[in-house]
């Protein structure tokens, strides 16, 4: 592995992504910047359609061909935006890996799981079929698939959802990647399995010194699994910082809304689940100013005029809001609620 430990492994600068949707071109992501050091973990949180998955696909270089990407994504200093697909193929599954949301459909039903786990090894390393198979069994064993040696030749439909997700994790880890992107890895799973899978991912990240980008709509998952987090809304990062800092001092009205809207255990009967009024804006017709303006309770005229700049409310904690003074004062009861 190359690069010193202090230099960022991944550095994203002013990333913009334009997609062609059925409703015309849409600016799915704009002005997203972050960096990630080796071994660091970063969470991306937001509602569906906020641009978090699109950002992940941009990192993987798997956006549709019609997508227009601007800005810069650097891995170990080398630029990924505009990289040819042939060169990107050498990185995917090798230095950057990804785990997807739907384990039920993410595996090819026609191939044995052993073959699918061994595939990145065969592709990126020059190990023999037998060696790749052996390694696949070891990986399956490591991710906690019972009877890995026996079941390596079984087909995906013979496994449960949780087991399949373990298989996709084994697949993603096969080539010891530097970065792991986990896009809602537990959303499609039973609640009882969710914790196990997240623990497994956390263990593996620590064990192999990988960096991880964890994408989730669930604040709880983010709170427990990452060191730093970014809250996305309407294609922009509205708040970012150390996970603790963001949870302690929510600077953006949207983050606060998201926090209030989560279902709580032990809430009194009859308590209405808080919702954020309004709906997520269509990416095809985003407002000119703050993307959250239409749903914000403390909106002002200047919010609609232009996209607010990022305000550093403390070291490494940035909020894209012009009214941080008010919003942060209102963030009462955020801790310990």
């Amino acid at each position: 592995m190359s690069g010193s430990t202090n230099a960022p492994l991944i550095e994203v600068r002013d990333l913009g992504i334009r997609l062609n949707t059925s409703r015309g071109p849409a600016q799915a992501v704009r002005g997203v910047s972050f960096s990630l050091k080796r071994g660091e973990t970063l969470g991306l949180v937001g509602e569906s359609g906020c641009g978090k998955s699109v950002t992940a696909m941009a990192l993987m270089g798997l956006l549709p061909e019609s997508a227009v990407v601007s800005g810069s994504i650097r891995l170990d200093g080398s630029e990924l935006v505009g990289l040819s697909d042939a060169n990107y193929c050498k990185l995917r599954g090798n230095r950057i890996s990804m785990i997807f949301q739907e384990p039920m459909t993410a595996l090819n039903p026609m191939h044995t799981i052993g073959r699918q786990v061994a595939e990145p090894l065969r592709r990126h390393t020059n190990c023999s079929a037998a060696a790749a198979r052996k390694e696949a069994i070891a990986l399956l064993d490591r991710v906690g698939l019972p009877d890995a040696a026996k079941r390596v030749d079984a087909y995906p439909h013979q496994f449960s959802g949780g087991q399949r997700q373990r298989v996709t994790i084994a697949m993603a880890l096969a080539c010891q990647p530097d970065v792991l992107i986990a896009d809602e890895p537990t959303t499609a799973l039973d609640v009882t399995i969710q914790g196990q899978i997240l623990d497994l991912i956390a263990d593996l990240v620590a064990e192999r010194g990988m960096s991880m980008i964890l994408i989730s709509h669930d604040l709880g998952v983010i709170a427990e699994n990452v060191q730093r987090m970014m809250v996305m809304y309407g294609g922009t990062v509205v708040e970012s910082g150390a996970t603790n800092a963001v949870f302690t001092r929510m600077g953006h009205p949207y983050t606060q809304g998201l926090f209030r809207a989560r279902p709580r255990l032990g809430a009194r009967k009859g308590t209405r689940l808080k919702t954020i009024a309004g709906t997520v804006p269509e990416l095809a017709d985003l407002p000119a100013g703050c993307t959250f303006a239409d749903r914000c309770t403390i909106v002002e005229d200047r919010c609609r005029a232009a996209l607010p700049a990022v305000v550093d409310v403390s070291a490494g904690h940035g909020v894209r809001c012009v009214r941080t003074d008010v919003s942060m004062a209102e963030a009462v009861g955020a801790v310990g609620a």
Partner: protein, 298 residues
Amino acid sequence: MSTPISASVDVGAATVRPQVPTGFWRRALRHRSFVIGGTLSLMVLGAALLSLVWTPWSAYEIDVASKLRPPSAAHWLGTDVLGRDIVSLLLVGARSTIMVGIIAVGIGITFGVSLGLLAAARRGWTEELIMRMSDFTFAFPAVLSAIMLAAVAGPGMVTSITAIGIFQIPTLVRVTRGSANAIWAREFVLAARASGKGGFRITIEHVLPNVLPILIVQATIQFALAILAEAALSYLGLGTQPPQPSWGRMLNDAQTLLFQSPMLAVYPGAAIAVAVLGLNLLGDGLRDLLDPRLSRER
């Protein structure tokens, strides 16, 4: 329940019968394959209707003296080996083709749709039996059953119509039953059953109207298949018999004269191709327009 119900339950909305979608014609006239297909189909239909009242020459009168004439002002596409005017033969041929097509598809729809609806309404062994029977009929393409019929009853229009009609049934059974089953699983049918309506009434009131768009699309495509089959049977001499003109028969006649008058083999085939292409495009267009859920690339 203490949580307020936020999402409205929309069962009532779905019981509304499917109507021609709003702005159907506006959308239709902008749909390329619908417009092209519709135009071609209308041309063939127009030719058939025209032949009822007028043809440039008689399509039946033989005039050996003026046989195999090249195209001229009098005979736009020339004459055949019996001196009959090609344009007139093509016009009357369109009539035979369309008639065989309509009757054969009619047979197919009558039996296919009823059996398909019955299979969906009854399920169980009725469904199993109907489906096995239709699988089985699939083993006999139109040409094969026409051969069997011709062997015992002699060739002719009735033979070809029957054979093509039988050949249409299995496809229509499958399509009808498939989409009818989907309708039977819908909430508004459950509601109708809960209110005590019988299988027959539900089929007529709810299932049939809902599968109608799919059947219209399928019937268009079956029509195209029927035209192809009719042409093949007439070409083989199993279908429409002389002196009644038919496109397939014209091709057979023309084949013996390929070296003298090659163009005679081109016109009737082109007429068949235009009719089939028109109906296929029309079917594709209707599929897109009537039911967006069906509009997958074939």
